[in-house]
Amino acid sequence: MREITIEVNGKSHTRKVDPRLLLVHFLRDELDLTGTNVGCETSLCGACTVLIDGKAVKSCTQFAVQIDGSSVQTIEGLASNGELHPLQQAFWEEHGLQCGYCTPGMILAAADLLKNNPQPTEEEIRKGLKGNICRCTGYHNIVRAVQSAARSLQRGSEGGR
């Protein structure tokens, strides 16, 4: 067992863990943050995507011990002060989800995408999300949601200037 300290959604957690414990199981089983889902355990579907130090990473193929000292953001930590993140709001308004299983990972992957490219084209959105599989929506409304979130983030940052 190894002692690790990981900051998750702004709160520091110190735990003794088995070195083979996957980050996604650390989040789900140790911290009861079940919003991060497992779809394939092989980094291929993206359901388990979280932000590690701000970057979208698939938590099913990271050991928790690898993340020692890092900061993780999960879907549970995306809304702030009871306000939905613009991506959450947009996924809701544009019907960017159906069963909702891929949604936390999809939203966090989109957050990373918009951070690096605040005004992506449709093609850039589609390519940017190719690590995340959705079997319900055919991606049509996911693209709309990301476009809509990009617009409102843009408005937000202009307003803040």
């Binding site: 092989t42 939905l84 069963c99 299983y101 936390p104 409304n141």
Partner: protein
């Protein structure tokens, strides 16, 4: 008050799902919970000589290791049953854990329960099984040949059933007399559903109360409770509670009763503590029922003008190693009955041989039989257009059932209730600017370079499953009505209970719209409860695009019963006769006197207080309906795909995808469009990329997302949708169902488009998936 039926209100399901607060089965944890892992056969077919569990049992943290013998000796029925019988159907036993013989890669051989999910998997690797490999067969057309490996001794030549529909001699005569025949041999590729949430079960057996609570990934909790009780566990039905919490997609794969959830429950019964099992992706791909897998020969008889005179189809349908729950129904009554398509075909004959093979069982996957039928018909019509030199749109037009011919009796049992097929076709052609596309296609062909292909799919589906007596007469061991209960509380707010069980379709939103619209109240006053056998009346669940048409209709009828009782109470309070009471916008009043009215809340309060009710009336305000539809519903439409094919590489680029669907009245347009988008993507996936392939040893070689290509965002495009509206004439909402339409139509539209692009090479047909390799080889096979 504006009507909420027909408006795109946002989904009430979403706030939990977008914040990580949705609870899926694997999210639940119970005190003292253990984890199960299942050992699966690595052989397609083998005798089990010996299983050594000692190493696994000794591993610290392991609390139990069990084999098929242990299940047998426990005295439970221990099998997985089939839910649809056909004449002379062979129904070999399907034990939840194999005892003597394994019959496909993935067949359960043993189960480990441990304190920790990692230890459970470690222990699985410590079980040693001595197998005697046996010959295997995976292809349905080969499995019926002399000398093929035998999957079950009780099914000679691996034939599970030999089924026909239509009139053989009349069809033969049509072919004898017809001047033109066209023919295709095709394979409808095997698909793996890939709901992104893998199947999961959390079983909690209480040994003192002898009852079982089972959270599981289910599209139909009552069916699962029934089959668990009758066939797998032997527990009385009232002692089992099945709960489907949030369910992460299904597409059919979570309808069926599988061994794994029964094994998990059985383990909990042995240990008297909660046990959880969750499939890994590779386990899901080996054990979730697959879809399609037909080998078909089909021919069309036509006159010189392209008028269809007859259709003859012979299909070998792969059923896999065992009969899955509705396995026998999918390639028969959900396939053969759809072969008339949108066309008036005077003679049809279809024979389907259902075949056992050493592969994962095959069952309903989105569309279930209807995409396979659509593919046969729409491919044949395109080949006929090609061979007779008629435009593909025109040949369809010449054969459509005309709008004034309804109800229309097909030659394959169904009676279509309504339709306007040319209306949808014309709308799609107009949206696409079909003539301009054809012109561009000609120009490109003349100039060389990338080829343009235009593909049509004018489809029909029979859904809204289904009139119970009809399906019963065809072999269903199930009813197909649906339950819907409306309870009006003393404050006038409402809780609705539905036997329909959503997994992404948004029932909580749309069913609230139905009831709120009916009762003239705000949808926010309506709560929708589903997915729990202890809470909702018996229901048959969600599949076959039945939720709105059958489950929604049950709620509409229950709402009407509430209004009827409300009218009687209002009449009593207003001292008027019931016939004079009008109900409008949530208010009861005497006709012509709307300012003296009682709202539904006042009536509900009176009904509960029961201080002053009409004589003989029972208190309370609730109504339950078990709605059994008088017919199937028949959505239809035209899908049109435009593709570009690079003849140098065989690469296909999807340029446009248009769909004009007629799903009847629409409760929530946003949700309907979402259903169509997703269905279309799955159909495109089958046409271009998805393929479950077994090698000659029966190994599934596309068992991971690395080699099984599920569409990703950059592989598909934005879809252009429109609708026509022909309300369903026989249910109270006029709705038809929309869950499967996209998938039913899309594979044929895309395949037709790609093959249309390849016309200059004389290519008449190619099997799906239309990969660059397959296309390139077909272009270059003549040394070009």
């Amino acid at each position: 008050m504006a009507r909420v039926f027909g408006t795109s209100i946002r989904r009430r399901e979403d706030p939990a799902l977008i914040t990580g607060r949705g609870k899926f089965t694997d999210d639940f944890k119970l005190p003292n919970m253990a984890y199960a892992a299942i050992l699966r056969s690595p052989h397609a077919h083998a005798r089990i000589r010996k299983i050594d569990i000692d190493g696994a049992s000794r591993l610290p943290g392991v609390v139990g290791v069990y084999t098929g013998r242990d299940v047998q000796e426990s005295g439970v029925p221990g099998v997985v049953p089939v839910g649809w019988l056909l004449p002379n159907l062979k129904t070999p036993d399907h034990p939840i854990i194999a005892t003597d013989t394994v019959r496909y890669v993935g067949d359960a051989v043993a189960v480990v329960v441990a304190e920790d999910r990692y230890v459970a998997r470690d222990a699985v690797d410590l079980i040693s099984v001595d197998y005697e490999p046996l010959p295997s067969v995976t292809d349905p057309a080969r499995a019926v040949q002399e000398g093929a490996a035998q999957v079950h001794s009780e099914a000679p030549k691996n034939i599970a059933f030999d089924w026909t529909i239509g009139d053989e001699s009349k069809t033969a005569e049509a072919f004898n007399n017809a001047p033109r025949h066209v023919r295709v041999q095709l394979r409808n590729n095997r698909l793996i559903p890939h709901a992104i949430e893998p199947r999961s079960a959390l079983a909690d057996f209480n040994p003192a109360r002898k009852d079982l609570t089972l959270w599981m990934t289910s599209q139909n909790p009552h069916i699962h409770r029934l089959l668990m009780s009758l066939a797998s566990l032997g527990l009385p039905e009232q002692k089992i509670r099945v709960i489907a919490p949030e369910v992460g997609g299904g597409f059919g794969s979570k309808i069926h009763h599988y061994p794994d959830e029964a094994i998990t429950s059985w383990c909990s019964m042995q240990l008297g503590r909660p046990v959880k099992w969750t499939a890994t992706r590779s386990e899901a791909n080996l054990s979730d029922a697959h879809g399609r897998d037909h080998v078909t020969e089909a021919e069309l008889a036509l006159d010189d003008n392209g008028r269809i005179l007859g259709l003859r189809v012979q299909t070998y349908a792969n059923l896999g190693a065992y009969l899955s729950t509705f396995g026998p129904a999918v390639p028969t009554y959900l396939y053969g009955t759809l072969l008339s398509g949108e066309y008036d075909i005077p003679a049809i004959f279809c024979r389907v041989v259902g075949v056992f093979t050493n592969t994962t069982p095959v069952d309903a996957y989105r569309g279930a039989g209807r995409p396979e039928a659509t593919f046969v018909v729409e491919r044949l019509v395109d080949v006929a257009a090609h061979e007779l030199g008629i435009d593909p749109a025109e040949i369809r037009r010449r054969n459509f059932v005309p709008p004034d011919a309804f109800p229309f009796q097909t030659q394959v049992a169904l009676q279509y209730d309504s339709g306007n097929y040319e209306g949808a076709l014309n709308k799609a052609l107009e949206m696409a600017d079909y003539q301009a596309l054809r012109q561009e296609q000609e120009e490109r062909r003349a100039n060389g370079g990338k080829l343009l292909g235009i593909g049509l799919s004018t489809y029909i589906e029979a859904c809204g499953l289904a009139p119970s007596a009809v399906v019963g007469s065809l072999g269903a061991q199930a009813g197909q009505w649906e339950s819907g209960e409306v309870r009006v509380h003393p404050t006038g707010s409402v809780t609705v209970y539905t036997g329909s069980s959503p997994h992404g379709q948004g029932h909580e939103t749309t069913f609230a719209q139905i009831v709120a619209d009916r009762l003239g109240i705000d949808p926010d006053q309506v709560e929708v409860i589903h997915g729990d056998t202890d809470k909702v009346p018996f229901g048959w669940g969600t599949y076959g695009s039945r939720s709105a048409a059958v489950g929604g209709s049950a709620l509409a009828v229950s709402s009407d019963k509430i209004i009827e009782k409300g009218k009687r109470i209002a009449a009593h309070l207003l001292e008027a006769s019931v016939e004079d009471i009008v109900f409008e916008d949530g208010k009861f009043f005497v006709r012509g006197v709307p300012d003296k009215s009682h709202g539904i809340a006042e009536i509900a309060l009176q009904a509960h207080l029961a201080h002053n009710l009409p004589e003989g009336m029972e208190p309370g305000l609730r109504a339950t309906t078990f709605y059994d539809p008088p017919n199937f519903t028949f959505p239809f439409g035209t899908h049109l795909a435009v593709v570009e094919v690079d003849p140098e590489t065989g690469e296909v680029t999807l340029l446009r995808y248009l769909a004009v669907d007629d799903v009847g009245n629409v409760i929530n347009p946003m949700i309907v469009e979402g259903q169509l988008h997703g269905g279309i993507a799955q159909g495109i996936g089958q046409a271009l990329w998805e393929n479950a392939i077994y090698d000659e040893n029966g190994q599934l070689i596309t068992g991971e997302l690395l080699d099984y290509a599920v569409p990703k965002a950059h592989m598909v495009i934005s879809y252009e949708l429109d609708r026509t509206v022909t309300p369903c004439p026989h249910n109270p909402l006029g709705v038809k169902g929309t869950g499967e339409a996209g998938t039913i139509a899309a594979s044929a539209a895309v395949a037709n488009a790609v093959i249309d692009a390849l016309k200059p090479f004389g290519i008449k047909h190619l099997d799906m998936p239309l990969t660059p390799e397959r296309i390139w080889k077909s272009i270059h096979k003549n040394g070009r």
